[in-house]
Every structure is written in structure tokens, then in C-alpha cells.
Symmetry: C2
Subunit: 273 residues, 2 copies
């Protein structure tokens, strides 16, 4: 998917909501456990009931790998379901991969070709030759971890590295990578005070923002400093939406929560006109 | 597996060789492609013909994920084969994972419980709460990326970060993590000049060393500065061994290459007595 198509979808739906499909068998409604593939059935219901309100879906691969081959099958069915039924939706494999050149090429094939995701999240620690193999794919997007929403972000990411915080080095240096136009960045909503600084370095890039809701980030603050001319934000919510209820009405509860966020986003977009 | 068991195996085999199972269908002998699971058949033959010379095997998960569910099955069969037939061998899932707390717990379950690997490689960028869920498993080992063997390592890892290179911050800060006794570190053999510095920070830890051979690292130099009282090194070779030949005699060729390295290791261990 091109960035232009993503932006068009955002304007059409008046939403820049991404829903994280981090599905834990211990947290989904009990009655689904009788299904042959409870995770896929859960995802399908969530997707069917929220796709008019969300522009992106982001399965975190860990939650699928934890169930071995069965989990990998659920992931494959989920992405196929999205690509077949809702091709306008932007899909993110939240995999946080990154390895040396020839290995990154294998990962890129796994996520961009075999599973046919539009994008994948990547850790920057191994540098240029671990990222560029992903950037080589046309109309595919590589979402680099910059400033994450967890406490451990302060271990290294915010440390002064040759005159600026490490995450700023990541933003700046990655701009020099080949095909860097295919880059987006992960920036946690729990650190809104950083957004204006980040926009100085990457004014035009899309930012994927976890941490609104469950982790305490504030949508208004993120938008105040993070929005750009083509919106440039994908706000992710996982648990707040998918686990809004764990009874039989879970899909309806997810719709309600997604609608709440979409309405706030619509207002924010209208205010900017 | 405990560290003591690993050290005992090293002394018994007079080897600290790790063989990387980075299996690419384009590079294995053509006749194997007729098998139902060529990757597993290839791994099985390599393992059967080298396990007396190697103490560890390290499948890089990217090479399996690239083939989707089929690849994941090959990985599952490979680790099961190792655990059943060669339980004394140390197994490494070279996965380079790392995510926020609850997600890291899912990854730890995937690799330590579902697949039953002895260890997994982890990227440090997200800090403490992304690493500690792995460290919580008894007799399992978390191998943190410190200084990798690729060119991109110079993008961030060697940059001065509050007075020292970032990879040294990773070594030092990770020592304060809960259950840090379960940590090992990846240090590339292409940067032997760094080994004595690294040993000052982590004198007792095992180091997993890629980059000997194909990537140009020198075994003698690595050992000179990297060995410690309990050996403390696992030297990985992937392509140099598994692709030593791509005709029907590939397993024999792999044995020869592994034997060459094991003999060098034996000499080095004997010299130290």
C-alpha cells in the first residue's frame, strides 16, 4: 500500500486508529475456546465489527508464536482475512525483527511476501545493513523503533549519544538509509513531551504510536505535537479495545470503544481544517 | 541446561563450536528438494555428522519463518530432534526478539516452553522490562546483542553514550537486571580488538561469537582475549560448515570443516593447561 492510499483512507474514515491484535487465550471470551481456532474467530469478529472505524490492524507476532504452529496458522488466516475482505486496511506485523543483511532479507520475505503484510516493525540496534533489506520493497513500510512506550526505554534510548539522545540518532541516521522514504517510526504516547522534538527531525514521516489508553498516554497531547500535513499518525490501541468485554458481546464492546476513539479523532481532524 | 553442564560438555568434546543452522533452500544440495521436508532432512544429516564436534546448534529463526508454516514445522522438528537424540547439546534460537514486558513473556514461552530451546538471542534496545521476562526462566539463557559482527554495528553500538560506547552500556546496565546470571552476550569476531575491553566488564559471562570464517574473524585472536576460566566462548560458524559442499557428500564435507575448527579449539584449550 502507498502512503497516499493510507492517507486517503484516513480522510475517508475520519480516523487514524490502529487496532492491536495481541490475542491471549487467557483473556478472550470463554465460549470461543470451543472453536477450532479461537484466536482467528476472535480476530475475525473484532475486525468485522471495527473496520469502519480503524485504518490499520497490528497483530503482535509474539502472541501467535507463543502457540507454535497453531498460532502461526491463526496469524496467517488473520492476515489473509484482512487482505481478502478489507484490502483498503493497512496491516502491520509487529515483529520487532532485525538481523544482519542476508537474514533480514529472509525476514522481509516472510512478512512482505509470504504473509503479505504492508509493514513490519524493526529494531534499529544492528544498524543500516539490518534495515535496508526491508526498505528495498516497493510500497512496503518499515516501522523502526525510535522511542518506545515502556519503562526500559530509559535504559538506552534516551541516553545522550554523541550530543543527542540515542532515539534522535536513530531518527537522523536512518534518514540516510537507502529508500528511507519507506520508513515510519514507533514513538510511544507515554512520552508526549518528546513529540515536537521528533517532528523537527522527521516532519513528514508517519509515526506509529502505542500507549494511548492502557499505558496512560493522552490522545490530545500526542496530536497537538505529532500531527503533520498528511496526518502522519497511527494511534494504536490493543487491550483497551479488544478486551473491552470478555462476555458474548465482546465484539459490540470493541465497536463502542473504537467508536469513542474514532469520534475523538474526527473532532481533532475537523478542528484542523 | 545449566552453565556447568555446558562447560562439562565443552571439556568432554574439547570444543566450543556452535553450528548455525541457517538453511536456505537455494543453497542446499539439489537432491534434497525431492524430500518432503528438505530443511529438516538437511539439518538432521548435518547434526548427525557433527554432534561429536560441536557443543551447540543455532537455527536462525528468519530462515524458517521465510517459508511460513512449513518452515516453522521444520524448526519444530529440528529442535525436537536435537532434544531427543542429543540432549547434552546446547540449543540457541537465534531470534533477536525483544518487546515490552507482557509480550516478551509470550516470546519466552514460545522459545523456552513450546519449542524447548536452552537459549534465545534478544535485542537490547527496549531495555530492562523487555529482557527480564526471559531471565525469569531457570536454566534458560538469554543471549543479549552487545557488539554485532555486521557493518551496521558502527551506526549505534560503538557510538559514545554518556562516556562509553553504547555496547558497553548494554553490558554494564544489563548486569543490574534481575537474574542477570542467566545472561550471555553476542560479540562479533570481526572486532577482536574489543574483546579485552569486554572481558573487563563481563569477565564471567559466556560470549556467543559469530563471524569466524565467512565474515573474516580470526579464532586465535578471539580466544587470546575472550577465553575465561570456564572457557566462556561459543564460536559460531554457519555457512563455512553447512555449505562446505552442495553435492551428495555435503554431510561428510561439513564433518571435515567442523573437525578442522574443533582441532584448532582443542589445541587452544590444551595450550592453556
Amino acid at each position: 500500500m502507498t502512503t497516499q492510499e493510507l492517507v486517503a483512507q484516513i480522510h475517508k474514515k475520519q480516523s487514524f486508529l490502529c487496532i492491536g491484535l495481541d490475542v491471549d487465550l487467557a483473556k478472550i471470551p470463554k465460549h470461543l475456546l470451543e472453536e477450532e481456532d479461537p484466536i482467528f474467530e476472535f480476530n475475525k469478529a473484532i475486525i468485522d465489527s471495527t473496520n469502519h472505524l480503524a485504518v490499520a490492524y497490528k497483530p503482535n507476532t509474539a502472541f501467535y508464536e507463543a502457540y507454535g504452529i497453531k498460532g502461526w496458522k491463526s496469524l496467517e488466516k488473520t492476515i489473509k482475512y484482512l487482505n481478502t475482505n478489507y484490502p483498503e486496511v493497512f496491516t502491520i506485523a509487529d515483529a520487532k525483527r532485525g538481523d544482519i543483511g542476508n537474514t533480514s532479507t529472509m525476514y522481509a520475505k516472510a512478512f512482505f511476501e509470504d504473509l503479505a503484510f504492508d509493514s513490519v516493525t524493526i529494531a534499529p540496534y544492528m544498524g543500516k545493513d539490518s534495515v535496508e533489506p526491508f526498505l528495498a520493497f516497493d510500497h512496503k513500510h518499515t516501522i523502526l523503533l525510535a522511542l518506545t512506550s515502556n519503562q526500559g526505554a530509559f535504559d538506552f534510548q534516551t541516553k545522550d549519544t554523541e550530543g543527542k539522545e540515542l532515539y534522535k540518532q536513530v531518527l537522523e541516521i536512518s534518514k540516510s538509509y537507502k529508500n528511507s522514504k519507506n520508513l515510519m517510526y514507533v514513538v510511544g504516547a507515554t512520552k508526549t513531551e518528546y513529540f515536537s522534538e521528533i517532528r523537527k527531525i522527521v516532519p513528514d514521516s508517519f509515526l506509529l504510536v502505542p500507549g494511548v489508553g492502557a499505558q496512560g498516554g493522552n490522545l490530545q497531547d500526542v496530536c497537538k505535537y505529532g500531527l503533520n500535513d498528511q496526518v502522519g499518525l497511527l494511534i494504536n490501541s490493543s487491550r483497551g479495545i479488544i478486551y473491552a468485554s470478555n462476555d458474548k458481546e465482546y465484539a459490540k464492546a470493541a465497536t463502542d470503544k473504537a467508536l469513542e476513539l474514532q469520534q475523538q479523532m474526527k473532532e481533532i481532524l475537523e478542528e484542523r481544517k
